[in-house]
């Protein structure tokens, strides 16, 4: 458990017909907060040090009758994403259908991490993917591969649940804006954000992260 490093985070209730659309009107009026991003230190001896190219992310929160939504917006000069053809005949192909276009590119992505169990008091789970007593759920949106719910109870324990969740991303004018529908993220729920910058070969623990915040 880490001591609470909590800043009040603004939430807004609104009509949210289009809350999943990052450009929807309700987001323009919703309060926002700029969260500082930290860079993970090199995790492996083979990792080259990385510059801070994405210093902050702007977060908004909408609690509506239709659900709980988070909108993340961050500046990223490189638009690292691709549209993959669907692999339909992997391992059984009678002939080549679709090709891998690249071997060395990585995608921009973001994630929201929340405790998997209600937090008691003002202590949050470990920022490093929770811990054995305080598991976390991670809502990952990858610009190439879409949304996936993961769970973890400490570093190197992260695994896919097989579930997805509604999310939408858009890149325009050098900025990503992504909305995620995180049903468990109610008012007061602690959350932390991660951003991956594909052009910096970000993936796994090589990323940007925030401390814990609370949606109030």
């Amino acid at each position: 458990m880490k001591p609470l490093a909590c800043l009040l985070f603004c939430s807004a209730a609104a009509f949210a017909q289009n809350a999943l659309d990052p450009t929807a009107a309700e987001w323009k009026s919703a309060a926002h907060m700029t969260l500082s991003l930290q860079r993970t230190p090199p995790l492996y001896p083979t990792d080259a040090p990385a510059a801070i190219e994405v210093p902050s992310v702007q977060a908004q929160f909408l609690h509506t009758a239709a659900g709980n939504f988070v909108r993340l917006e961050w500046a990223d000069k490189t638009h690292d994403t691709t549209v993959l053809p669907k692999a339909e005949r992997a391992w059984q192909g009678e002939h080549l259908v679709t090709q891998s276009a690249a071997t060395d590119r990585f995608s921009d992505a973001c994630a929201v991490m929340i405790p998997a169990k209600p937090v008691i008091g003002d202590l949050n789970p470990s920022l490093q993917m929770g811990d054995a007593d305080h598991p976390v759920r991670i809502f990952v949106w990858d610009s190439t591969r879409g949304a996936a719910v993961m769970e973890a109870s400490g570093r190197e324990t992260t695994k896919r649940t097989g579930q997805s969740f509604p999310a939408q991303g858009q890149y325009a004018n050098g900025k990503w804006s992504v909305t995620l529908q995180v049903s468990d993220m109610k008012a007061g729920t602690p959350f932390a954000v991660a951003i991956w910058n594909g052009s910096q070969q970000d993936r796994d623990g090589r990323k940007y992260f925030t401390i814990w915040y609370r949606a109030q």
Partner: protein, 338 residues
């Protein structure tokens, strides 16, 4: 570390460069989506750029027990995959069959080019597959613990469920024998034909080899050809032993015939290719191996018999392959609970 280690020995003196092994593997394992550029088994001309391009010069493996930094090869480093204008050629006629795009690099781009020494050309073929290392750098590098080495036969596999496509393994492998399937977002590699091996059947690349240059068996089986070639006769060496991964694919080095006009001289006295190049690939021990092979050859030429050369001829399958069925192997290990 595994309890047993399956292994392959390839006699480079017998390789024709025909790529039958490459196609046997391709047809069996890598004709699925996203696998087009992958050749889990490839044959490259040495000296040459290799596949992927310059794989031997971009790091990986271990240095002082720690992973050595490396780079991810790009798709172009592996070589383009392209189509020909067959439809136009066949149905309209009057034109050459040409690639549909400008070709700048292919997996076998510099085939048979080789190099010159003292005005004479030299080259040889180097078939390559995953080395199923005793100390796999890929396994060490994977934060997902998706790579494992099987206790029963030492085959190294990537768990396709656990793999998240982070590609640390691709960087770590000094042989660049792990590939990224972008469509599936998974790392994929040679599986040493484990479904065949488990049935006591040899790998497809070995089975199809017209040169009969591949020997397969358990390194710890004293009756196996691979054991004899590697540990008893000591005529087979791993590729780049200095990379620290202890590869389990071994090569009988090219015998390096003497240059034209140097009849009667020893291979080591007047080699056709620079010994330093062979040392670069197989380590300093390659000189002793060639000396051993030469002495065996002399014995045979002088009317004696050479067990090593007889073994290397390896005419029949049972001489080259000693692969117990998996169920027998497990029973031998005593791990099988009926």
């Amino acid at each position: 570390m595994s309890q047993h280690q399956i292994s392959m020995v390839l006699d480079l003196n017998k390789c024709l460069g025909c790529q039958t092994c490459t196609l046997a593997c391709k047809k069996l394992w890598t004709d699925g989506d996203g696998m087009d550029y992958m050749y889990w088994n490839n044959v490259e001309t040495r000296p040459g750029q290799g596949y992927p391009r310059n794989w031997d010069k971009i790091g990986g493996g271990f240095e002082d027990g720690k992973l050595r930094p490396s780079e991810l090869p790009s798709k172009e480093d592996y070589g383009q995959t392209f189509e020909y204008n067959y439809a136009e050629r066949l149905f309209q006629g009057g034109m050459q069959a040409m690639p549909q795009e400008e070709v700048r690099n292919t997996p076998n781009w510099d085939e048979d080019v080789g190099a010159l020494m003292l005005g004479e050309n030299y080259y040889f073929y180097l078939p390559r597959l995953c080395n199923h290392c005793t100390n796999p750098a890929c396994l060490e590098a994977c934060p997902r613990k998706a790579i494992y080495k099987r206790a029963e036969d030492g085959i190294v596999l990537v768990d396709q469920e656990r793999c998240e496509g982070y590609r640390y393994c691709m960087k770590a492998c000094p042989y660049k024998k792990i590939y990224f399937n972008e469509l599936l977002g998974k790392a994929q590699k040679c599986i040493f034909c484990y479904p065949r091996i488990e049935k006591g059947e040899v790998n497809a690349c070995a089975k199809q080899c017209p040169g009969r240059l591949r020997f397969v068996g358990f390194l710890d089986d004293p009756e196996s050809a691979v054991h004899k070639l590697v540990h008893v006769h000591k005529v087979a060496l791993g590729l780049f032993p200095d990379k620290g991964t202890e590869p389990n694919v071994f090569y009988v080095p090219p015998f390096n015939p003497p240059r034209t006009g140097s009849y009667g001289k020893s291979v080591l006295e007047d080699p056709r290719m620079p010994m330093d190049y062979l040392k670069y690939l197989f380590g300093d021990e390659v000189v002793d191996v060639i000396r051993r092979l030469e002495s065996e050859l002399h014995r045979s030429q002088n009317g004696g018999t050479s067990e090593v050369l007889q073994l290397l001829i390896g005419r029949d399958d049972h001489v080259r392959y000693q692969i117990p069925k998996h169920e027998d192997l497990i029973q031998i290990q005593g791990a099988h609970k009926a």
